[in-house]
Symmetry: C2
Subunit: 491 residues, 2 copies
Amino acid sequence: MKLKDWKRTEAVYERMFHPRRIVIVGVSTEGVGFGSGIYMSLRTIGFAGEIFLVNPKGGSFLGADMYKKVEDIPGDIDFAIIAVTARDVPDALEACRKKGAAGAEIMSAGFKESGQPEGIALEKQVREIAGRGIRVIGPNCFGIYCPESGLTFMPAPDLSRKSGPVAFISQSGGMALDYAHEGKSTGVRFSKVVSFGNGADLRETELLRYFGNDPQTRVINMYIEGIENGDEFFAVLKEVSRQKPVVIYKGGLSAAGSRAVTSHTASMGGSRVIWPSILKQVNAVQVGDMPEMIQASLAFSLLPQRVYKNMSVIGGGGALGVAAADMAESSGMEMPQFPHAIADRMMAILPKPGSSAGNPVDVANPFVPPKTIGEVLRIGAEDKRIDFQVLISLLSHFKSMSLATGKPVKEITPYQELAKYTDEAIKETGKPVIVVLPNPRRSLEFMDVVELMELARNAFLGRGIPVFDDLRLALRALEHVNAYYGGRNDE
Amino acid sequence: MKLKDWKRTEAVYERMFHPRRIVIVGVSTEGVGFGSGIYMSLRTIGFAGEIFLVNPKGGSFLGADMYKKVEDIPGDIDFAIIAVTARDVPDALEACRKKGAAGAEIMSAGFKESGQPEGIALEKQVREIAGRGIRVIGPNCFGIYCPESGLTFMPAPDLSRKSGPVAFISQSGGMALDYAHEGKSTGVRFSKVVSFGNGADLRETELLRYFGNDPQTRVINMYIEGIENGDEFFAVLKEVSRQKPVVIYKGGLSAAGSRAVTSHTASMGGSRVIWPSILKQVNAVQVGDMPEMIQASLAFSLLPQRVYKNMSVIGGGGALGVAAADMAESSGMEMPQFPHAIADRMMAILPKPGSSAGNPVDVANPFVPPKTIGEVLRIGAEDKRIDFQVLISLLSHFKSMSLATGKPVKEITPYQELAKYTDEAIKETGKPVIVVLPNPRRSLEFMDVVELMELARNAFLGRGIPVFDDLRLALRALEHVNAYYGGRNDE
């Protein structure tokens, strides 16, 4: 097999994402450096493979003996994490290559992004070594987080070990780290996250192609500052977008943003004019910031793959219903009025006065029993026009009941039942429900409500029901789903 | 004085917002009703005046004797809270009028919004009684929250007692209640909040005129579903907008939204086409949802009154700087590159490698000492072009240090120092700083970080420095400030 072909084989990626033997080069015993930090993270998260540590002075760290040189490690290694000073990186990388490593992530900074001749020359050396047969992620990156194998970032000992359908390819380490954390509470689960920084070797196009073929990945997320080869990238993007949604956040489209890109990851920016039109052409999903990416990915992950048009809204508080109706219209969706037969059956079980059931359904107060809410969802789904239902639940109001009864809010709030009855309504009717859990209370005396909202969120997410903080965000996510599946069907 | 004139006097409003003697009509001793709920809320929040309770059966509640009739209360009353069944409201209101009450809030529902002939007739009766000399807020509303006097909503025993510059006029009770709570953590402080529901008597136009003249109110917020008299409203809005910013969220601009409005507060909607153009003409500030209103009001409350054009951004993480630059441009602001003299002085005190100081300033890691951050802010302000600075602080990363050291995150995170040095930089340079505190971590094991972020938010807000969760939200708020002061100067 030619070197070029070898580099693209499944086996190489497999050894990088699921390595059995890894080396961390550059583990300082003084203070918390990248090397010692990543070692602690890997141990805490429970990485299952063998970890070898290298420090030129030898010694030991957290009970593990350190090797003075990569060469001293017995046997082969699969993957290397390099965290030495920039000028020592080429030698370390070459040693790992000779040791048989399929790949390496270089966390060290001080390369092309520094703008200095020395850094630029060092990055060229890294690229040359990579060309001789070791795949490089970085430099100036956070590398790989793979929930299945337990490879993680630094410092990130606490990321989720639950795999999911979303892959994230990020030019920024900070974005990768933050999103990996945020995935845990928002419900986005990852197949793999790769922070590739300067991208001296592996970068956007090749990673995109890999995740396009990765059976574990159903949704691809990308944070891109600059691309190396536009033609090739957009060709691959077009191909992959036919198979699965690719959600892209392109940073640096403004003048100042483009300047910031150069000092961040040494990439060339792009034009605010060209990007959106090309992305639209290839049916990629463009988002404007990370929250939008996360919310879109949650919708892509958890909702059946189709276009959503007509919705019903069940919520407490009339103004929320008004807002829902307005937002639906500006998101290109509709809220058809329920026929009397359906509205009357809802009204028969809802508290009076205060309720109304025209769509939106105003349930008058936040304490309506979950079983009734489930029944309302079941009745609403009988309207054949309805594609999906939105449940806006004002659980934070149970705080007042907690204050009145003296019982902890998480004990008296029936979020488990609400998730259960909602789930049953979804399963019986076949119509998805999107849950919105607004929480206007997070000052210090409401920390119990913040915790409650997380528990409630987990209860719904655990049943595969998407949860958003805010209806506007939910509908914006759904707009992306509609644009993608609408665009794909048009082809 | 004619009745019509009397009704508009300061003295009437004064007796409504700062009543010395109030009556709650309709205090049930069984379960938690509106009457008993509001009584408990008033006692807990520490309302300073006298409270009389009325229940046709007499008896006592929480140790307070109840009167069987309003007439039995000795002496005059200033303000009444009416929470009886709709059909008993007219008699109760008339009794309160005869008792000399300047005003009353009617919490009860079952009036015009029910769409039933009986409810419509009852609302007409309420209006007639109001015409004879008692100002009515409601029916179908939550009434008044006034931090200074301690009048509050139900259930809202825990709202802030700190007054501030923002008045909120809301047709929706739920919005009023939620915003009153959210103000507490976001830093928006209220002069008064009025939920007027169906608005049988006092409603948008008259309240707007009152707050336009209220010296305690510098910023007016309105949630409107429908207006009674368009010409009069827009004339008053134009007049008031010359004095102070009026931030308006108009609900029900869509077809379905307009339908929802009718069953919510019995108002007629309006057109999506007409509203924005009229609001722009009169230099009112239009927002699309409550978060946008809250964030705009925070900016109006805490920033010097002017147009903001050129900004600098100091943050940890290169991608955040890139995002900042992009967002600045799309918000009509600019991030001029720092001259070398300034950038070099910043670089001299920032950690290397990893930092850059072109504007955005990337401070390489979240652990740079607050004193250094303060110094960077001071140096950046020397660039004469800069109007304001944005500090993006990734305090959530201290969680890893907390895990490593075993010390509580709120003890090891220097948020107090950061607020102090930021405040000093603002005071010395005269250039405002907007703080962004993103927190991507709120899953259950990060509740300590959620608490930390609240503590940090309070530390900045306590010094009058505005804090946002997200840069996009901060800049959107600033866009409103720019539009308002830009529009006002154009006149």
